[in-house]
Amino acid sequence: MSDQTPASPPAGATATTPPADEHRRIEAAAAEEGETRSGFVRFMSSPFGRNLGLILALLVLCAVGAFTAGDRFVDTDNMVTILRFASIIGVVSIGMTFVIIGGGIDLSVGAIVALSSVWATTLATQTMAEDTHWLLMVFVACAVGVGCGLVNGILIAYGGMAPFIATLAMFAAARGLAEIISEKRTQLVDVRGLVDTINGEFLGIPVLVWIFAAVSTIGWVLLNRTTFGRRTIAVGGNATAARLAGIAVKRHTVLLYVVLGLACGIAGIMLTARTGTGSGTHGQLYELDAIAAVVIGGTLLTGGRGTIVGTIIGVLIFTTLTNVFTLNNLDSSTQAVAKGAIIVIAVLLQQRVSVRSADSS
């Protein structure tokens, strides 16, 4: 039938014969796309390209550092210092990335860090650790983090509380509990094994940095290569669709806060080892720094989209900024103003880049 000559269109109408090959236009376009993909498009859609704006911002910051502080900034030791400072807040931020992609938020991370550092350094824990192994303290810190995350998650997923409120309550309660346990005193770490190992070096690089690298890698794999990551994106992107597709949305939400709690526990023991103390005042303002790093990294606060690489760069931008300011002997108030400006600039940059790539994807 289709090889029949087209019937002449009715009077008063104009018609042109449809092109013989109906797929040609799309195929041609696809081929065109394939060509450009090998070049610019592929670059832009690589993790490096997608975070181009951020990387530029980081480079500009480094240039400023090199210009103002000279050799004191451009120095291997200084670079290692920056990474060392980035590592603890970095671990928290990786966990925060998951919660935010999953459509939530957690204001209690700093408090959880403090509580786990205190709990891991009580007299009882330390005595037991002396008798067994310092890893016991690590275990305690992680368990405290997981426990707090579990409470957050259950309140939010099954209690139906808004994440903001539930974690605000945890923010107050966990820090309070940390102060009660420590009787508002700073607890010194006597278990040398913990400090020597975690605050030590491996292959010339601080163990703290190794831990950050390991957590980042695991986080990246978890988000990009596993069903857990895929579900996180689905739950944050469209919870109804996820539920109707058979995903256990509530259980998954709980898991997200548990993952973040675990990250806080790890950060707590890292901080304990670095400072040699456990204290109810540890980790202050971590929640703001972590959320800022995640958002700068291009993760949508509304959920459903975000990257681990972006978060890492976000953390590095913040720590480099602090470093440059410290080297130039500027006070912390000026730093705070600069941080605020950086958040705004980075997010604006990020939006421009992502709008353009959404247009062109």
Binding site: P9, G12, T14, T17, I26, A29, T226, A241, D359
Partner: protein, 501 residues
Amino acid sequence: MSDPLLQMSGIVKAFPGVRALDGVDLEVRAGEVHCLLGQNGAGKSTLIKVLSGAHQPDEGEIRWQGEEIRLTTPLSAMKHGIATIYQELDLVDGLTVAENIYLGHELSSAGFAHRGETQKQAAALLARLGHSEISPRRELGTLSAAGKQVVSMARALSHDVKLIIMDEPSAVLDQEEVARLFKVIRDLQSEGVAVVYISHRLEEIRQVGDRVTVLKDGRTVATGLPARDTPTRELTRLMTGRDIEYVFPPRVSRDGDGTVVLSVENLASGRAFSGVDFEVRAGEIVGLAGLVGSGRSEILETIYGARRATAGTVTVDGKQLRNGRVRAAVGAGVGLCPEERKSQGLLLDEAVYRNVSLATMGRFSRGGFINRGSEKRAASEHVKSLDVRPTGVERAVRTLSGGNQQKVVLARWLLRECRVLLLDEPTRGVDVGARSEIYALVRRLADEGVAVVLVSSEVPEVLGLADRVLVLREGVVVHTGPADDIDEHRVLDLVMEGSAA
């Protein structure tokens, strides 16, 4: 002849990878209903967006009442008197009906909204549309899809319009509401307002249309065809480039041989529906017909556990499902292809293959790690069999046309290989060619032993595809029987008046 109201010529709009419009011409006269026809992805919605100022064309000319104009923003289109009702509704759920209608051009002085006046005028507009039952004070989110459509129309009319563009308005409406919509269109027409009307249903185009323009692959292939007299074969050939037999696959006669897979007993859920009893055997397709709001979708949701039953039981393969638990239904092999693709089905920013595999991720993973190779391969297979275009599975679902998005949702449930498949409006917005492919696919699934429950606003679709039909009215089943024993008129009678008719 005087200048046409609107003349678009040589419009080109390219997105990276796709020339969505590749030289489109369109001419609309004052007071006519001009229909746009074309397959999914032909460029209809893109053309509309150019006309409404949402997209800027790369090339081409737009003349409005004889003068060349540039529509740089939606506002400038509105100022010229061009209003648009988009395919995907764009209203704010948290505002009231009246606030939505006047959103962007609030009746106010010195920044203070005139609430009383706004509500009065909104009520007048709703009455003009034959929907005075919708209160202007109601929160928009509480309305059904059809209700929102009406609000969208009222919003278009709140401007001084000369041309209203409607992108698949009937997709969310049932037949009675479509009839009401047509009455409104005729009223507008008699006031000299022109309408550009997009639909995949040829019957509708014959009923309201004056002239037809056909798009194919971003080009105008025919324009000015008389809507009533152009043969269907001619239209589908222009759209698809081939002859399409618009038929339903033949039913295999089976005399109650399959075992009962799904059995629903005395099911009820709040005020939505009650006392629903039916069984579906392996290989059988059961259709639910009824108006929007008659409880059709709610029954599917309740079977699936997405809504709590207040009475009754659902049994799959002899095992009773736990009430209100989606996971239990999924575990028993039940799949639901939901009604609203955007809010209930899709992750718009995610790649096509990730959307397709959302309900079956487990099958492509080992110890939680996803094997993306086999995932993509399986997704592409289904995407191809449903003729989703463009075929690449890596592009974001957002960049697909409406009908192709619908096919992605459907592909998800085909991939799942369910025991029971619940389909809610599976062909909404899907073009003629792909439709018959979907029908054939559903029948094939049934032949492989799947029990299918089908809900559709299009009565011919239910009658043509299903083996057995349940007719619903206000949440009660008013008729059950083989699809062969009932015709469209009878169904419509039942639906409107119940068994008394």
